[in-house]
Symmetry: C2
Subunit: 283 residues, 2 copies
């Protein structure tokens, strides 16, 4: 596999296999066919048509929609149709910055194929003029991609939380980064990808931050999500990305962007423009 294939794997999808999911005539997701079939059992909450699924029109406020959909989700959870319940609400909106149309349990987000947001932090160290990256290894019991390599800090953006506040919180939990150090993290852009994973359509945007760490800082995990951390040279990170599937799928995308922004991947490569464009690709 090449770096380019690694990036393109984050964009691979075919919306034809899903039904558009609408709120107030605006598409906010792409729904799994089997979920659409289940939701037809709740006509007071969802209107299920052969070519699309909408939230029932009479649910015309954020609160009505959130409450009605949540009760359906809890029923489906009891029937074993939604697994990995997190008790964490994600806001569903047409796009970032727009008012949320309803809140949805995180475990149901992939089933609805709604836009989700997260923060990723490239935690790096400068040493002898070289850049090194702190890399975590996901715990063996993580629901997604157990044991794969991950960022110093990464997490989904729950309802009502700002990206930077989420970063501060996750940095403390995942890597014991003190607040005053985490505050130095600099936002460096947003990466968007749309891919199929476990028969769901993921439509994700990652807010990317860079955090330069002191040479003597050693991250330690608190919440059990990361098994261990290691400091890797950018050469080794690039090799693992290009030749193995050791990194969690979307972490590869963020790291290639980091390698490009920091000049480790430079225009002397014949595939430079193609790589830079692929990273930036919108679905």
């Amino acid at each position: 596999m090449s770096l380019l294939e690694r990036i393109e794997s984050c964009h691979r999808h075919d919306v034809a296999g899903y039904r558009p999911f609408l709120v107030e005539d605006r598409r906010v997701g792409f729904m799994r066919q089997d979920l659409a079939v289940e939701l037809a059992r709740y006509p007071s909450v969802f209107r299920v048509d052969p070519d699309q699924v909408s939230v029932a029109e009479h649910l015309d406020t954020f609160d009505y929609r959130s409450a009605a959909i949540d009760s359906v989700m809890r029923e489906m959870r009891q029937q074993g149709l939604i697994r990995g319940w997190r008790d964490e609400l994600f806001p569903v909106a047409e796009s970032y910055g727009r008012p949320p149309l309803f809140d949805l349990e995180r475990a149901a987000v992939p089933l609805f194929g709604v836009k989700a947001y997260g923060v990723h932090v490239n935690g790096y160290v400068q040493r002898d003029g070289e850049t090194w990256l702190w890399v975590g290894r996901r715990a063996a019991n993580r629901p997604i991609e157990p044991g794969k390599l991950d960022h110093l800090v990464a997490g989904g953006l729950p309802a009502g939380m700002k990206p930077f506040d989420n970063l501060i919180k996750e940095a403390a939990e995942e890597a014991s980064v003190p607040k005053e150090l985490a505050r130095r993290a600099r936002p460096c852009g947003a990466l968007s990808y749309r891919m199929e994973l476990d028969s769901c359509l993921r439509d994700d945007t990652i807010f990317v931050y860079d955090l330069e760490l002191p040479a003597d800082f050693v991250p330690q995990n608190h919440d059990g999500e990361i098994a261990d951390f290691q400091l890797m040279s950018l050469g080794e990170v690039e090799r693992l990305l290009a030749e193995t599937t050791s990194f969690k799928f979307n972490v590869g995308l963020v790291i290639v962007d980091f390698l490009i922004r920091h000049g480790h991947i430079a225009p002397d490569r014949p595939d430079y423009a193609q790589l830079a464009m692929a990273v930036a690709r919108k679905p």
Copy 2:
């Protein structure tokens, strides 16, 4: 005008108004209709069909194509059909890193709508924890966007020259940046845009570099392309971009990317994800 509109103006185009231009059955450009009409007069060099224009099949090497097309271009120049002759060859290829199919006089590049490449350097200074950007003002006699604000260093990539070598050369000519200082420039990505300008389709990719300059460095122009330089706060740069058309069109795109990468534009803006996506947009 907003920052978003400024970016989107770099992507506005409709290829329906142009004829695809092909070499060996591969599309390499989008040709102006009036140029297609002119080229029909040279059937030994161009095959002009109602829906596309190709280089004649018998011109099956780089050298044959370059020589034959160059002679047509020179004839059209004499007839006043190509203005602003530069005596500078640009390579025409299907994509970056692929072997060029022929070399084309720079002044004809927009008429053929072929992909062109350039380097732009964000020359910045850190002062009291704030970032300042060196901004040039284009000379009044420049063929494109005279008098508009520009980067410290920017230039098209001619045939046979590598981006970094071009940067070193242009940095000396345009801003008197010594070679050892210019070498510190760091590649930070590539931005692609496709827009209509003066009834031509521009299909450009810019290799973006950041160069941190010493606080006491003052750029001076040598080649007459820049009238003067000034050091601007990022707040002022952002204001000018959002409220005026003072900056050259594509410079705005590169600077918004800079503002995002350096955290001046942060996720606390409701339009953050939209801005980051718009900058990254591929045609």
